[in-house]
Symmetry: C2
Subunit: 190 residues, 2 copies
């Protein structure tokens, strides 16, 4: 079940470096694309950075609306993640083409992708220079949600839910799932 | 064995979102810290973005030298990664304290961390505004190296080398290893 997450914990959704789905909405259209180049940028209030290439339809919608969401997709969605990262939504409706379902977000117009395990609703912080030079968008997270079956206490815990593990794209459709959960010992001087 | 990697493939070292070690050198001192907030920013020439907090000794050395490396550590180094991310090198030598060994890089003064599986030598692209506002450093990758036992053909393939898997920090010393390698099917319209 999707449950709200305190904003001060929102960075944890991306801290382990999963590949994301970026949704956007403007001019009566919505779109979804994959972005592996996304990361947290601050804790509280939480900020994120994401690369949105210049020629993409997502870029056009994000620049028009000043909003997007970053969703954390799962192994069960692997083919869809790869597909929406390879095709453009300018001419076609990727939601219908790849059987992705959306639901409304709470504080932005861009929708949430159903079946994901984490969701960040984001408002762009205007940095025109880095947007133009590096296709880099900086945004504040204004709402966060998590799938509670893979979130125990204060963090991700996928347990035996193999199909709900987040994924990490390398290149060319080769992904790694998020692997074993390991706790490092409290640092001690060696 | 550490072998050179073509610059056009350098983005693959970080594309799956591993936690990194950042090394730096200036004024006759070197340092190493952990950074989970690092990602590729461009393919060729490759660029990266990394968050280096204002109060850190690494920040001082990177600002003085305009250089750093991003190294990809392994599960075998988990305790060390957590430790160098928790302590400051300003007063103490983290290399000695946590038994990390360095070797010279090829094109920057910052050293490479031995035992890692990937290494990016980076030169800062001056963006004073985002450095100041977001602690965000943008850099060009000028040399790249990979441990060839976990790199098959053109990408990561950890196979059975569990201790050489890269790691992904969530929070508070909880990490995930890089998990199962899965190939998504070529996108097809559903």
């Amino acid at each position: 079940m999707r449950v709200p997450l305190e904003l001060r914990r929102a960075y944890k959704l991306l801290n382990h470096g999963p590949t994301t789905l970026v949704t956007s909405a403007a001019h009566g259209r919505t779109n979804v694309m994959a972005a592996a180049w996304a990361m947290p940028l601050d804790f509280d209030p939480p900020k994120v950075a994401v690369v949105i290439a210049e020629a993409t339809f997502t870029r056009e919608l994000v620049e028009a609306s000043g909003e997007f969401t970053l969703c954390v997709p799962t192994r069960a969605q692997l083919e869809q993640v790869y597909a929406v990262g390879s095709a453009s939504g300018r001419e076609e409706d990727k939601w219908a083409l790849y059987r992705l379902h959306s639901s409304p977000a709470s504080r932005v117009q861009a929708p949430l992708v159903e079946g994901c395990v984490g969701w960040l609703e984001c408002r762009v912080l205007s940095e025109p220079d880095v947007q133009r030079k590096y296709d880099l968008f900086i945004a504040e997270v204004v709402a966060a949600w998590v799938e509670d079956s893979v979130w125990k206490g204060t963090g991700w815990d996928f347990g035996g839910a193999e199909e709900l593990r987040s994924v990490h794209h390398m290149a060319g459709g080769v992904f790694f799932t998020t692997g074993e959960r390991v706790q490092a010992l409290k640092p001690e001087r060696k």
